[in-house]
Symmetry: C2
Subunit: 427 residues, 2 copies
């Protein structure tokens, strides 16, 4: 017979054995993921993650550098979210390496607001509730935190807009020296924030492409210290934008939306959504990928046009052909003629069963004012996603009963002259 | 002997009785609070809350309207927070009346960021992570939601800055018509956002005071419909700004900070903090009020100067007397010469055992750039709170071991010309 004193010990031992067995079963069911590496998707070349790098060792046939991605990560489950952290670092377990000292300014955790729009309900993700008032901070906080951990002390970015402001801001917060290159034609207004954060601003003669080329050439300058940490190039930036997917999933009670409509420049939110939602699939948290819709201005739509070609679609907007005149669109933030990851973006959208919308300037103007009159004051650059919503609804590609998210990337405060011109107000 | 079928019922009945007893005990311990009313603090006149009103029935000796406050509310305890709501409406139980349909754009829930500053750690509350990129949205969401519930359909505000943008934005979101009055000298840039939201902008000849007088006179215009819903006048606005106190308490793990340093114009954050923290005392959630520190530019410091007089303090900055030249300070957002609730602000600060700091333009410039170089891009208007932190630390009024919060009310993006001038950049 058992003595009364032994009974609790026996129960405790049985419980401990049960727990060990459950842990062992989980370990067997989910084998340890291989270590994450940089990967050049076209050749499959891989590089270990412990040193800082922004491109492959080999060049393309024109002698130009080739961008990198990261190998697939396993994703995280809901219990791995650090619920007490009020920033996107709550998803730190999903990042490719642990980060002891993140450079964080409370970025992410932006609201998802459900509002009625033309008979449907749209979930607007308001990304300007962020340190530098644009979505770029998601990418920058992760990119600069991990680069600093890899030993980088001086960062180089080419951008005259939201990307430059964001990199300058986080470099200041993280004690890194920042150099921002911008075309000589950039207005002084646009460089004020970068200069205030202490960044060195270098104005480059010629086109936007000339600035990009100058930045690529300047990598390693200053005695090897200057590191090219471009928001368009570095794969760590996408590790930050992928938190958009994690956040939407958490916002929607740990479910995926049906559709995500994304204003697209270089495509970091398209790829961020793809990476994030695929990780959630891999982790077993969602059972289907949302459809991703890429939106670009008709006047500068390299990715959207390529997607339409890939899908054999014709939006009837292409006469006369005007898709390569970036200087003419008011959607400045998305007027990028040579996106570094064009092919990856096309693949991401097609794989998700999504499609592309090319928005005219008129549609964009109307959408900008329509949003403002609902209380959402945004740059025309992101209001184009609302214009696309109308078209997708009208053509039956999405339905009003579905859960549709529209990403609003930046505030109208950054585009006062454009808003004034839409309203006919003389400045 | 009990039958097996009866046992679960008996247990359930006992549990229910225990629950009823606990509820009854709680009801006895916390008597039902009297209904909340408008109150005119000087005469004690009260008015019921079921109709919209913005001032007392009687006038002051100069025939001018008198502002109202609300009678004390009991405050809420932590279990009354609606934890799943990602906006300040998570504290809706603390508001003076239930609101069936809040006009909400995900305002509040801003980050509190702890950063090292001159050997101490400061908790920066970043209030520009809000719909219109300033703290004003806290007050506006509550004011317009409750006014709409009271039957108001057209609102009138006088402001050319953050207040006007916020009221125009929320009026649009709530389907209210907004009229914003601003001095004729207001630059076109400043009215763009209001116009985009569909507000009627009326430019009034003369001084800022002339605009305020015109707005007061226009209340009831348009067939009685136009309601004066000024962020400086309406007591519901303070019901919104009081959520700053609730949020700081929640941010800090349900404790109060030792000190809160507040850039002060009309004082809605000073009074909001007083109301909120006093409610938390009343509800038994905190045991001591934080000390409130009011900061104003030396060139326009009616409240700070009055506090220093009340406390018999002399900051040695008053020779020659320059405290009444609002047009000369770069802290535009706080240059209000005749704050509607001056006496209430003085009382709030003194009661909290706080004090006042008057900041020179030089101190403000340096603090603005110091913050930017830490990654915090703010208007000089709110950077003055960081300048005050230095002075309070140097004079021993606060200690580096204490938990000090600095409120940063708005983004530097709204003050590009001022930042450019600080940096010596020609626009």
């Amino acid at each position: 017979m058992l003595s009364a004193a032994l009974l609790p010990r026996l129960v405790a031992a049985l419980l401990a054995a049960r727990l060990l067995w459950a842990l062992r079963r989980r370990a067997l069911a989910r084998p340890t993921a291989p270590p994450c590496e940089y990967v050049e998707p076209r050749s499959g070349a891989r590089y270990p993650l412990h040193t800082a790098r922004w491109c492959a060792d080999h060049s393309d046939r024109d002698g130009k550098p080739i961008p990198l991605m990261l190998t697939d990560l396993p994703g995280i489950r809901r219990h791995q979210i650090h619920g007490s952290v009020r920033s996107l670092w709550r998803y730190a377990a999903a990042f490719p390496m642990p980060c002891a000292r993140p450079i964080s300014l409370g970025e992410g955790c932006t609201p998802l607001i459900a509002l009625p729009l033309r008979g449907a309900v749209v979930h607007f993700k308001c990304e300007w509730y962020n340190p530098t008032s644009s979505f770029k901070d998601r990418g920058t906080t992760v990119m600069l935190s991990l680069l600093r951990q890899q030993g980088v002390t001086a960062v180089l970015e080419d951008s005259s807009g939201n990307g430059g402001a964001s990199v300058a801001c986080y470099a200041a917060a993280g004690g890194l020296h920042a150099t921002i290159m911008a075309p000589q034609s950039t207005s002084a207004e646009k460089t004020v924030q970068m200069r205030a954060h202490g960044a060195s601003v270098e104005l480059i003669p010629g086109s936007r492409q000339a600035t990009a080329d100058a930045a690529v050439a300047a990598h390693g300058r200053d005695g090897g210290k200057l590191f090219y940490s471009s928001h368009n190039w570095h794969p760590f930036f996408l590790q930050g934008t992928k938190t958009l997917a994690y956040e939407l999933w958490e916002d929607l009670g740990f479910t995926a939306p049906d559709n995500v409509i994304i204003p697209t420049g270089a495509g970091s939110n398209v790829l961020g959504c793809q990476i994030g939602f695929e990780e959630l699939m891999r982790a077993g948290e969602i059972s289907e990928l949302p459809r991703l819709f890429c939106v670009q201005p008709l006047l500068c739509s390299p990715i959207a046009s390529a997607i339409q070609r890939e899908l054999g679609e014709d939006d009837g907007k292409n006469t006369p052909p005007v898709w390569n005149t970036p200087e003419k669109t008011m959607a400045e933030g998305t007027s990028i003629m040579q996106p570094v990851r064009l092919h990856e973006c096309v693949r991401a959208v097609c794989k998700s069963r999504g499609s592309a919308v090319r928005v005219t300037e008129d549609e964009m103007s109307m959408a900008t004012l329509e949003l403002a009159q609902m209380g959402l004051y945004t740059e025309p650059t992101c209001a184009q996603a609302a214009a696309a919503f109308h078209e997708l609804l009208a053509t039956g590609k999405i339905h009003e009963t579905q859960k549709t998210v529209v990403i609003l990337t930046s505030t109208g405060i950054k585009a006062t002259p454009k808003l004034a011109s839409l309203l006919g107000v003389k400045l």
